[in-house]
Amino acid sequence: MSENGHHIVSPKIYAAILAALLLFTWLTVQAAKIDLGPWNIVLALLIATIKMSLVILFFMHGKYSPKRTQIVIVSGFFWLAIMLGLTLTDYTTRHPEPSRSANPPAIAIHRA
């Protein structure tokens, strides 16, 4: 970027991205109305990720940025993944316990 001047993205691409984003928005609303079991959330997040990538790559010029900027962007998401991923290792491998609920657990203890 600093060496070869500034990349200018043409309005045509912007318009195309706008159209794609709107299409995906419609798609995600439609997909949500169908019962796919656990896949609903996966699909919704997948579509959101695609939309995000489009915004970053084109609206935010991520595709045309110098490598250093791209590394910064990727490392942001990498650290987010560390935070989510490692915390979920705890939650997904816990032994099933009596459900946490609004009532203090003393109840079950008295029943026991």
Partner: protein
């Protein structure tokens, strides 16, 4: 109990020898490295003290073999510590099947413990020697932590979770237990004693009289302490309905339906007062969620039950007297 300057706690459970062995290993490794580095530093410090103001040192930039050595050797030592520690921890987190279960409730700032036969204790825990004991622990308010240094065990007591821990006492005696997770003002006095007894002594102790007091009296005390009486007047003319004769009766609600005033209804009325509003009253009562414990709800329920035979105040309206809402 011990000399003036104790250096290590007593060893009184199955975990103590394991933990102490590991502790000795890590202490040995640490002392080796700490002493080696200290000696090296002090030796170099005197050996290479500057002689002339303009002197400079030998231009040594590094050595790859040394770097690799002091990455690889510590790595294996560290893995040994990790592995050994993990073995003990896995053992600690996997309770054996044949345990004596004691229920532990932590609340600001006391421990309530309940033996398998229902015998209750406050800030005291009696367990038999050489028997696997499991503590099933819950908190009524904030996070606490049940810690017995002589057993080398501790575990957080978290509201909304059941945490369990286990140990096998190996030596009769009395040992401190502490609350080890900071829990507010009197955190430091939230502790007590674990008494490890011979099995026959324990059996005799367990068979002794229970420590619980009369729930009705307890409920009456709470009725005063929580100022229930400022609204729930016995004559039914307060802002809330009277308790008299309410237990077991049918209560007419503001939405026109009726419910039977049973335990569940009383409990709900204490915790979610606005869920069912008695006809003729306003939804003004605050929730007592978090203010009263389950023990106390039981006591209050017992107290309300005891008012069953009291005369119902006001006009007696066929099946549904204007009562019933706490």
């Amino acid at each position: 109990m011990q000399s003036q300057l104790p250096l290590y706690p007593e060893s009184a459970s199955n975990f103590a020898p394991d933990v102490d062995g590991l502790m000795l290993f890590i202490i040995a490794v640490c002392i080796f490295f700490a002493v080696a580095i200290t000696i090296a530093v002090i030796y170099f410090f005197f050996r290479y003290k500057r002689k002339e103001p303009g002197d400079i040192g030998a231009p040594i930039h590094g050595d790859m073999r040394l770097e690799i050595t002091w990455i690889v050797v510590p790595f294996f030592l560290l893995m040994a510590m990790f592995g050994w520690g993990a073995v003990i921890y896995v053992d600690y987190r996997h309770t054996p099947a044949d345990t004596l279960d004691v229920y532990v409730i932590g609340k600001q700032w006391m421990w309530k413990l309940e033996q398998p036969n229902g015998r209750r204790e406050i800030n005291e825990l009696h367990v038999p020697v050489n028997r696997n004991v499991r503590l099933v622990m819950a908190s009524e308010d904030v996070i606490h932590d049940f810690s017995v240094p002589a057993f080398r065990v501790k575990m957080d007591v978290v509201p909304g979770h059941y945490n369990t821990m286990w140990f096998r006492p190996t030596k009769a005696g009395r040992y401190h237990f502490f609350c080890s997770q900071y829990c507010g003002t009197s955190h430091a006095i939230m502790g007590g004693w674990v008494t490890v007894m011979e099995p026959d002594e324990y059996a005799a102790w367990l068979a002794g009289t229970s420590g619980t007091s009369d729930p009705v009296a307890l409920g009456a005390k709470l009725y005063n302490e929580l100022a229930c009486g400022t609204c729930h007047l016995p004559d039914g003319k307060g802002r809330g309905p009277s308790y008299n004769g309410v237990y077991g009766s049918k209560v007419k609600l503001a939405d026109g339906s009726t419910v039977v005033a049973d335990e569940a209804y009383i409990r709900e009325s204490i915790l979610q007062p606005n869920a069912k509003i008695v006809a003729g009253f306003q939804p003004v009562m605050p929730s007592f969620q978090g203010l009263v414990s389950e023990d106390q709800i039981l006591a209050l329920t017992a107290y309300i039950k005891a008012q069953k035979d009291q005369p119902v105040p006001g006009k007696s309206d066929a099946a549904a007297p204007a009562t019933g809402k706490k």
